[in-house]
């Protein structure tokens, strides 16, 4: 047995405990801002149970995180007696046993560590919160018996910085790039209050009255803030404290894997690098929305981060933690983050997880939550059968000035995708998909009957109190394309009338751009998207961004570009949804996607023809895939996975294919075998 014993707990408790810590780390200057939706909690009283058979005597070391008692029953003669004067281990002779450990802890999650030669704590243990339901124990790779689960363990690392200004008592630092970090005064001298003002921009750090993040340390009693902060610039003032030996620590989660991308266009390389940094900074105990302001976990933001993650770090541990924490515990009292469609994104993301990561056991644990969400969503139905926001629901759609009251078209479309996904998830859980299929068909019909304007070839935005809102907004059309609910004829109309219509109001958040550009790619407009990436994200690079922003409007000048939510520096300059070029490039332009669950097979369908050359290494579930695009060839090597290369007739001249279908030449590729094929571009490069 080579797997180490690890700390185990009642499934979901660790994630919920970390989520609560995460959601209560938000401060607006000195004001503490807890989440304004309901949060679940871990179970304080947990029973751990394991049956096993020993063929020879074995000593089990048993540790618990909390007050506990131990019962070891011989199956043939159970006594259910607590072990008296327990000394940390039990010596058992050969036989069949049931081990029962009850652990109670109010402050940290109850957890168990059992180590023997053949019996070790892992997911084979069952747990119960004493509600007479039993599930496999949860774990997260904590194998040190001396370190039971507690606060999330970040890595810390000294960073270099430039001193921009240094007076007698104050200091202004530039850490050269956006980061999540902690100021460390341990090596400083003196005594007094040290005030700290943080800035993602220099303007913010030097604006003591208006910067978003501050700290106050009573040195030397306090030498570092309790909670890490997001910044590039740090401004300190400490009367009576010599700050010369101050250090700045980067707080982060190391990544075992990372995609690589280089190419003949320097700006695109830069965009890719900054996108990678942006996602890495937001990849912590969970995929956060942005590290400065809320630093919270939002299901919609996370949905996009998951997709980016599959094309960058393939960090399934953070992803599982994120999915589990969002699932919380029954009953469903409101939508995730109290945003209606965010719960739907969570469901939709489950199936992506299946395709990229597999792990059916894990999915089977999550699917009951998906079913409960749909049940809850049904309480939001109007007479027509469509859904609308009720008290406590935030219908978000996009961070834009939109009236989302009533039956919103975009909301129905996202819900439709969730219903479609439920049918597929039933295939994994063995549930009957019929109820979801029926609901899907009925809702689709009422959507098109009611909110589709056949004459104009567009969606009404919404219907409120019986009145149709005729505004043509990109949002419903983007979702309709992205989630594939349009027939070819409607697709054409929507692309022409809305998506490529210069008169339609522009999408400004990277969040919505993710869907917009994805939709355009799916509609074949990869070339358009390529240029948009260079324009939009390139624009932020031109502004000196070292990470991508919550929102970018190239028309905003000077310090105005930092303002949002009526606050001078309200805008987050490092927002996960800003990293979407990772997905847009990986999924649509480099063109990689799984075609069987758990990435057992991939398809590579390259569309990146404007570059004279590029080289990409992307993670698959098992090993990486390397792609080299040279002038007239394409070389592909996947370490362990079989796949297919699809070259579009419209883009490439090639030869030696295995199959030709629907305007593509298809090459069958074998895992572990490097293959170079002819790929002569028909479209002129630009770099």
């Amino acid at each position: 047995m080579d797997r180490k014993a690890e700390w185990i707990w009642h499934n979901g408790d660790y994630e919920i405990r970390q989520l609560n810590a995460c959601l209560t780390s938000r401060y607006e200057r000195e004001v503490f801002v807890p989440p304004f939706w309901h949060t679940d909690d871990f179970c304080k009283n947990v029973k751990f149970i394991r049956r096993f058979t020993l063929s020879k005597p074995e000593r089990l070391e048993i540790r618990a995180n909390g007050k506990f008692n131990v019962i070891v029953n011989r199956i043939q003669a159970p006594e259910n007696a607590y072990i008296r004067e327990f000394q940390g281990f039990v010596d058992l002779r050969a036989g069949e046993y049931e081990l029962i450990v009850s652990v109670y802890n109010e402050k940290e999650i109850p957890a168990l560590y059992v180590n023997g030669e053949t019996v070790r704590s892992d997911e084979q243990f069952l747990t119960t919160s004493n509600d007479f339901r039993y599930s496999a124990a949860g774990c997260d790779g904590l194998t040190d018996p001396e370190s039971p689960p507690g606060p999330f363990r970040f890595r810390y690392e000294d960073v270099d910085f430039d001193i921009l200004r240094k007076d007698k008592d104050s200091l202004l630092l530039d850490c050269r790039r956006e980061m999540m970090g902690v100021v460390n005064l341990e090596s400083c001298e003196g005594e007094g209050l040290v005030h700290i003002w943080y800035g993602e921009s220099l303007a913010e750090a030097t604006d003591k009255e208006n910067c978003e993040l501050t700290d106050e340390l009573d040195f030397p009693v306090q030498t570092r803030p309790e909670v890490g902060k997001a910044f590039r610039y740090v401004h300190l003032h400490g009367e009576g404290v010599d700050l010369t030996n101050l250090k700045v620590l980067r707080e982060f989660v190391p990544q075992a894997r990372s995609a690589k991308f280089s190419c003949s266009d320097e700006k695109l390389e830069k965009i890719y690098a900054v996108a990678l940094d942006t996602l890495a900074l937001n990849t912590r105990e969970f995929f956060l929305d942005g590290i400065k302001r809320d630093r919270w976990l939002w299901a919609g933001d996370a949905y996009q981060a998951f997709l980016m993650n599959y094309y960058s770090f393939f960090d399934l541990k953070t992803e599982r933690r994120t999915i589990t924490a969002l699932a919380g515990k029954p009953p469903v009292v409101h939508f995730m983050n109290h945003i209606m469609e965010y719960s739907f994104y969570w469901i939709i993301g489950l199936y992506d997880f299946y395709m990229y990561a597999g792990d059916e056991n894990y999915l089977r644990r999550m699917i009951p939550t998906a079913r409960r969400i749909i049940e809850f969503a049904r309480t939001r139905k109007t007479e027509s059968g469509m859904i609308e926001g009720k008290e406590g629901d935030w219908v978000f759609v996009d961070w834009a000035n939109i009236d989302n009251r009533g039956e919103v078209a975009a909301e129905q479309i996202i819900y439709l995708k969730a219903l479609e996904t439920m049918q597929k998830l039933c295939g994994i859980s063995g549930d009957d998909p019929e109820e979801y299929r029926e609901e899907y068909e009925a809702l689709k019909k009422v959507l098109f009957d009611t909110l589709w304007d056949e004459e104009r070839g567009v969606f009404y935005y919404s219907r409120y109190q019986g009145k149709l809102n005729p505004a043509i907004k990109k949002h419903p059309h983007i979702f309709a394309l992205y989630f594939g609910i349009l027939d070819d004829e409607k697709k054409k109309k929507v692309i022409q009338n809305v998506l490529l219509n210069d008169e339609a109001e522009k999408i400004v958040t990277p969040f919505m751009r993710f869907f917009e550009l994805s939709a355009l790619c799916l509609a074949g407009e990869t070339d358009f998207v390529y240029h948009e990436i260079l324009q939009y994200w390139g624009g932020m690079i031109d502004e000196g961004a070292t990470s991508f922003w919550e929102l970018y409007d190239k028309n905003e000048r000077g310090d105005d570009k930092y303002a949002m939510y009526n606050r001078k520096y309200g805008k987050s300059l490092c927002h996960a949804w800003g990293a979407s070029p990772l997905y847009l490039l990986g999924r649509y332009l480099i063109g990689l996607e799984p075609t069987k669950p758990a990435y057992e097979e991939y398809r590579l369908c390259p569309k990146l023809v404007r570059l004279s050359s590029y080289s990409a290494t992307l993670p698959l579930r098992d090993g990486d895939i390397r792609i080299e695009s040279a002038k007239d060839t394409l070389t592909v090597y996947a370490e362990k996975t079989d796949g297919e290369l699809w070259l579009s007739d419209a883009l490439f001249d090639t030869e030696g294919w295995d199959e030709a279908r629907g305007g593509y030449k298809i090459f069958k590729l074998r895992g572990g075998v490097l293959r170079t094929v002819a790929a002569r571009k028909k479209i002129k490069g630009e770099d």
Copy 2:
């Protein structure tokens, strides 16, 4: 405004927090024993909201138990902005406001204290756990701004004790009576480990290997145990520690009111006094089952304690805490304490609370829990429509050797009473009672069709796997009489064939005796019950009991009488259900009961005719009632409450009555007016 500001919280949180502390104070020697059912938890993230209008400027002092932020919106111009650099108060000019305080606390319940001239924290504040549901804040009379809610505040008091034995390092004490207490070594000297063995009996305290409760103090670091213990005798051993100045502290909750009873029979007086002590000892943060062993809150035990309480301390605060803690939070995952009928007792007790205490607002908060319990109970229905225990259910009935699998008659009867109660509760909450009425009628029919043996005139005990269990046990018959589901003919049969049948197996637990003797009283057998009280409880007095036991069998001799659950001292010698003479005397023999909700009117129907004289002071909701029974007269004085005195023609000769009905002479009594009536006993006294 004379009401003080008090600490407030999300309704139920305080009780649940105290319940968790209570349920995790059980130790079997050094082994920690947490509850083996699911426990709920308090909300960590609570929002407090209050709208108010100020006619002149006012300063509000605001304190919170936890991290918090404050928003004060002028209703006419809400800004929803956090108060920056909050200094503990807000100064407001005249106007209409909404105050919103968000409090987060992981360790203790989030709580709020607001004190102004007109605005003070009380139940007028709304709270939410941010699930977009709002309810009136909870409170428990904590008015000290410096003492936010935390551990329950017991009172402590030095007690006298006798030293039975004193050696060099050890000491054996007799505290003269059963108590809950704490050994205090603060004034001792020396250094070393002090071992403590507790005993409810001398035998237990001197049996170091087998006594149930122990402590180990590392003196002088530890000077008193963390958790109070139940004992009369204490045995200590401390090498290197001089125990001479040791103190013993009684840990208790003072009672503002207490019933009084004196009479011409010394033994009955003693029984009454010991019953009062027994209930007082178990009346703590909640009504506990027994102070030694589990010291837990059990809904069935509490149901009886409530009824005793109405005739002794009328402590509604402890009662509300107990009811609220048992209600817990949705969803219902199992029955209360995982015992099926215990949830039904809780429902039945709600209506008693209405009759004795009133408080419709409180009841309206509890009724949704009652509805959820019935919904849950319906998941336990068999094909016949009766209920049976499923996985995780404990069908208790009584602490006796009974097979409770399948459809148990007693269980149906208690459920019937719960369904009947639901109909009455609907009258308070304004819900439609129809579903409960229908279910009641259907269940009653199937019960009598299936489990009533018309030929023998008895109930079958149960039906399991289609097979009737013909054993004639007293239990179903007792419940059928007590809960009034029998017609007169069946009643007679049941009393004759079972209850007064010497060959039927005897009831041995005071828990079941409560129901048995109550049922007999209701059937008119008060004289029989009077003698039983003297026999059964008098038997324990003869054994030297200073509190009444969990179980009493006069045939058990020597130390055997302390054994239970296969443990030498497993039996609790101070069990709340042992105090039932309080109820039997008060309710049936002295004969007092409310006839309108909230004790707005009472009926006194005395049956205690074997005593030549007695004097009783019993609590009503408002003020006391005093009853003096002399040779030929009865004198009644209720301070504030109107009522009726009913004298049975079978028991009393009288005159001057206001009305005669059904074998009774009825006197109308006025609150605040002392009335003496002729009451010449027709039955010979015995004392």
